[in-house]
């Protein structure tokens, strides 16, 4: 640590610390990651606003009522909600340093996430098969952009989850891995929060139009 020496009146040196004091490694990671999530929130807000503006422009194409299958959406919602609680269990077992249980809960979370993506992709495939492609109308363009962006986030969350499982398997629950798992926890729960907006504004209100 560098110090500046300033000679004072009675020739006794006074020491001033001019370097920043030491930060423990990763001390600001959680706040930084939270700020990232907030910026991600703004992306979704703009996509929601776009969908809100364009959701009535069917261009004589299919409307939500013709396309959406609410029981399927409810199933999808429960998949994501279950993956949220199982990730919570993974965090609880992580705090008890039980590697095996943590890995098991992470794997179950991954399977629920995979089920969510699978159901969503089959829904998209069904819609596109019926001619409801993103090119069909402004409503469908904004629908696929909003829901697709959320699905892409979940997909990258799954890639991250598998990466962290390999990390934990190789290096154990070291401090760095705990921090990474906590970041993914925030990311995963945040995606569930965004999904609340999606199933409410896109699916439920869409069926009411």
């Amino acid at each position: 640590m560098t110090v500046a020496v300033v000679p004072s009146q009675d020739s006794e040196p006074i020491f001033h610390v001019i370097d920043e004091h030491a930060h423990p490694e990763g001390a600001s990671t959680m706040l930084g990651f939270w700020v990232y999530l907030m910026s991600d929130c703004l992306i979704f807000a703009i996509l929601f606003a776009t969908f809100g503006v364009l959701s009535g422009n069917y261009a004589a194409g299919p409307a939500p009522r013709d396309l959406f299958d609410l029981p399927l959406v409810a199933l999808n919602t429960s998949m994501l909600l279950l993956s949220s609680i199982t990730y919570g269990f993974a965090m609880l077992t992580m705090e008890r340093s039980r590697i095996g249980a943590t890995q098991a809960w992470l794997a179950i979370t991954g399977l629920f996430g995979l089920a969510f993506i699978g159901i969503e992709l089959s829904e998209f495939a069904h819609m596109i098969h019926e001619g409801a492609t993103p090119q069909r109308s402004a409503f469908l363009s904004s629908f696929f952009t909003l829901v697709g962006t959320h699905g892409l986030h979940v997909t990258f969350g799954l890639v991250w989850l598998v990466t962290l499982m390999v990390q934990v398997w190789r290096y154990g629950l070291i401090e760095a891995n705990r921090r990474r798992l906590m970041c993914l926890s925030m990311f995963w729960h945040f995606l569930d929060v965004v999904w609340i907006g999606v199933f409410t504004f896109v699916y439920l209100l869409g069926m009411l139009r």
Partner: protein, 133 residues
């Protein structure tokens, strides 16, 4: 669990403000808080789906209003029980970032919807837009 991690550390001296901030953010929920959050979420998800699928409230406008209310409550539940939001973590900076984001989101959403609704009302011919090609 928080107690265990503290027990491993020497009590004397070594804690500065940053160190304790790390432990605050690491303070995760207990099993009961996760289960309460999950239970509330299930109820707050199931009721709007049931309302829309059964049409129990009759009026579409009322149903839409109630459904949006449930979503708002569920988002708060998730924030508290799953994301562990509180006013203390990181010396309140996460809450500040959240409040700023909410203000931005509200401006972006209401502004877009309001302006574009006005545009639709003023620019379109009298008949309904859904009849337009």
């Amino acid at each position: 669990m928080k107690i265990d991690s503290h027990a491993l550390q020497p009590e004397a001296g070594g804690h500065d403000a940053h160190d304790s901030a790390v432990h605050d953010s690491a303070a995760h929920g207990s099993l009961s808080s996760y289960l309460i959050g999950f239970g509330l979420s299930v109820v707050l998800t199931a009721i709007p789906f049931w309302l829309v699928m059964s049409g129990a409230l009759g009026s579409k406008q009322l149903t839409a209003l109630v459904v949006m209310l449930f979503a708002a409550v569920q988002i708060v539940v998730h924030m508290i029980y799953f994301l562990h939001m509180n006013t203390r973590s990181e010396n309140g900076w996460t809450m500040m970032a959240l409040i700023f984001t909410i203000i931005m989101v509200v401006i972006a959403l209401t502004g877009s919807l309001w302006v574009m609704h006005n545009l639709t009302v003023n620019m379109m011919p009298v008949h309904d837009m859904s009849g337009m090609r």
